[in-house]
Amino acid sequence: MDLIISLVINGLATGMLIFLLAAGLTLIFGLMDVLNFAHGGLFVWGAYTGIFSYAYTGSFIVGIVVAILTGLVFGFIMEKLIITPVYGNHVQQILITLGFMLVLQEMIKVFFGPNVVAVKVPEYLAGSWQVGDIIIIKYRIFIIIFGFIVFGLFHYILTRTKVGLIVRAGVMNKDMVQALGINIKRIFLFVFMTGAALAAVAGVLMAPYSGSIYAELGMEYAILAFIVVVIGGMGSFQGSLFAAILVGLAGSFMAYYVPYLSLAVNMILMAVVLIFRPQGLFQAAKG
């Protein structure tokens, strides 16, 4: 039982990090019909700017704020310069965002150096609690709580506010939203910047979790996020949470019980979902 609880906590913590990355991706796809392969680049930029600010100021909270700002600024620039010219063309979106992903990755090496950067967990989040025979690592609990708070916050915005209502309506029928007098491009920009900020936050939270960061990390996590978006249903916020937790738990349990399958488990999950429910588990309704 102790082992199971430990594996569940590991899986939930990993799942929450993937959820933060996938949530933005799924909203961007659902509302804007944009395949953003540069999402991992925003993740890794959030990790670097956040961790360097943390190292400079000694405050992890400052690191998180800087990561959010980085995500917002990069999101703004990216939407205006990279995404706007390729709306409606998936092939061009894949090419240009993949290219931009490589640019973001290489720029990390230019600005922060090519070496792996070691990251420590902030003192107040370091260490563990012992409950009976179970050792609970504090930072993992922090990530799980943070993830649920973000989910709750965005769930509230999406379901209880006018802007959330417009985003949900936009996912279903963009043309109709415009015909009701709403500037959907402004909503696109808001969603893109929010998604970018979520990716950047995921990056800065992941850094102490994995203990080190490097430029190529973005691509590794972006692939997991894409798998989650496909499993959860493109455009579904709840689907992303469910699928991220599923992927996190599957990875955690498989790594312990069937280690040689742990790398393949996500692909197997995705393949099973694509065979039996190609629209994903929680497909967002299109109008």
Binding site: D175, M176, Q178, A179, A285, G287
Partner: protein
């Protein structure tokens, strides 16, 4: 003489490589129900989409309230006071009736509350199914919701695309009554295949054929002209 609210002058519209509208012109007068008539594929729906800016004109001009709206984005055109009810009704399927209307309501002023009250009295079913998902409504209820949603703001002109399509005769009657009632408060431009309905509620007509205006006049003129009805609408 009644004032022109909307004027299309030699409007051309391309969708991809296809030249759909090749010279549409007509006027819609304040307080009237103007009906666009023509065979399937004549360009009626594209005309409405061009007015609202979803398939912008590539030539000619669209003037609304003496303002050139040809190149304006859709949301700007809508905010000038044009409500749009598309052929498929464009209901947000997973949003409730209440949420569908809330997306459309720009402000919660006394005037918009009064308008909301008015449309809910016009379509009592909407009040009954206020919390029901739009996707679960019947065809007629969806049509009513789409019309209410387009009307709830300060709409000076309503573009309604084939409101009778796929509806039972009894529901068509209700929709017709609602349009006649709404006409008291706004101007309506209707696309309609059902000539019986068009002739009952229309004040004027524009015949479109192969993307061009071929005739415009008072509805009575068309009702009395069997040759024109036969040639362009396949009736009689």
């Amino acid at each position: 003489m009644m004032e022109n609210l909307l004027k299309l002058d030699n409007v051309n519209t391309h969708i991809g490589q296809y030249h759909i509208l090749q010279g549409v012109h007509f006027e819609a007068k304040v307080g009237e129900v103007s009906v666009l008539l023509g065979r399937n594929g004549a360009g009626k729906t594209t005309t409405l989409k061009t007015i609202i800016g979803l398939t912008p004109a590539t030539g000619g001009s669209v003037t609304f309230l003496n303002q050139d709206i040809t190149k304006k984005p859709t949301y700007d055109i809508a905010n000038l006071g044009i409500g749009y009810v598309p052929e498929d009704q464009g209901i947000f399927a997973q949003l409730s009736v209440e949420e569908n209307i809330k997306v459309a309501m720009k402000k919660e002023s006394e005037e918009s509350k009064e308008k909301l009250e008015y449309v809910l009295n016009l379509f009592p079913d909407l009040k009954k199914f206020w919390k029901k998902a739009g996707g679960n409504l019947s065809g007629g209820q969806k049509q009513m919701l789409a019309m209410a949603r387009a009307f709830v703001n300060d709409s000076k002109l309503l573009l309604i695309d084939e409101p009778s399509k796929g509806l039972a005769p009894i529901v068509i009657e209700k929709v017709m009554e609602a349009i006649v009632e709404m006409k008291k408060r706004t101007t309506i431009l209707l696309v309609e295949q059902n000539f019986f309905m068009a002739s009952k509620i229309g004040d004027s007509f524009t015949l479109i054929d192969d993307g061009k205006t071929v005739h415009q006049g008072a509805m009575k003129e068309l009702i009395d002209n069997d040759e024109m009805k036969h040639k362009y609408l396949g009736i009689g």
